[in-house]
Symmetry: C2
Subunit: 237 residues, 2 copies
Amino acid sequence: MDIGNDTGRAADSVVAMLEAKIVSGELENQTPLPAERELMEQFGASRTVIREAISKLSSRGLIETRPRFRPIVRKPDYATVLHACGNVVQHLLTERSGIKNLYDSRVFIERALVREAAVAARKEDIVNLKTALEDNRQAIPDSQEFYRTDVAFHGVLYRIPRNPIFPTMHEGYTSWLAPQWDRMLRSPERNEVNYLAHKAILDAILERDPVAAEEALTNHLKAAWEFVRVTFDWGDE
Amino acid sequence: MDIGNDTGRAADSVVAMLEAKIVSGELENQTPLPAERELMEQFGASRTVIREAISKLSSRGLIETRPRFRPIVRKPDYATVLHACGNVVQHLLTERSGIKNLYDSRVFIERALVREAAVAARKEDIVNLKTALEDNRQAIPDSQEFYRTDVAFHGVLYRIPRNPIFPTMHEGYTSWLAPQWDRMLRSPERNEVNYLAHKAILDAILERDPVAAEEALTNHLKAAWEFVRVTFDWGDE
DNA sequence: GTGAAAGTTTGGTCATACCAAAGGTAACTC
DNA sequence: GAGTTACCTTTGGTATGACCAAACTTTCAC
């Protein structure tokens, strides 16, 4: 098991081999990687190379590293993609335009989602939506809890297409789009407003009216953006 | 300029500092990074640490590294996010379900895009679509060229919302969803079919008929998928 | 001025060493 | 004997210093 070509990056070979062992399951998921000194023997490479490989795997989300602990193998999944993006996305969000773009894309996606829901939601989806809405209603007095149920309600919409990519996107939106807004700018009054918005969306879905659903969703998210914008005294959009 | 805390990762401090210098522009975009031995002096760290930092920055897409050359500074943009995702996404595409999910999400997005186009396309968008379609028509005999114009036509749709996130997604779809399918499975006959599908989409947009546009787009992409599926003799979807 | 040759810089890799924290073990307390 | 504590070993984080080959510069010949 030696390292074939040498175009100036032995670490990449190690990365590739470890990558293969991870996806193949030879290195079991959630299991700590062998010690560095053992890997260097295994691959016939210096510790320098091994460490670089580990660093790269970490950046790619294939292993989880804590400061002084053994890296933990993590088989790549959709959340891994999110994790990999996160590092970079944060830079784009330092400018207002970046936040706006991300938020707009969310509105765009969710508009399509509620439209989809209105025409294609199954019985179970409807049940989930109703449950989520009820949880939402009951949480109105508790802003902390309301935030959670708010996210959960939208989350149901993302699960309707039964494509794991959408819940992943949802997770991205909620984790990147300044959760601090939502958590901090809440009050029972605003919670009530948002609950009613959710109810309007669900009502339109129950009516199987995609146009109304999309409109209700759009109003909901636009209003939320407007509230944030005004509160933080940002200029025009 | 020493390294403050020490929770077991001096490299991260260096990463953070370099990161700051990159986003602030102190390290100009498209400019080579200082030599490693210079950086170690600048940050008072060993070469080990400097190299690890460079590796991390590379993984995050903030610098571009070629085997034996100085890393080139690259201010993070939307393409950088794509780049960061790409490494991981590829793992999800080894399974058929991953490909299917990605393709379905593309269909979902484009459905929403053509709908948007039908109701909100501006004059310039229409012009761009017409031009792209005409290019597409003229390229029918040349499959290589047809592929290019095909991608370009869809690309116009992604630019209509004027949100850079969408063109980025488009780039992701075209680069991840097996370009080899599109490039290899083409023939003037199929090109003709696809051209007509594009024309149907544009016609619906010109009619300002979102329902018809969405339907035309859906048929187009579903047919393309079906063709690939049958050609590669995959089982049911 | 142009291209080749010689010299210098610099990235990639290795070997070695040290430290401090994590992990494990044996002794020790109650 | 369960729970501590003291101690020893392993192992990740970092620093040095060295060497090579490829990239970069300068020199020099024509």
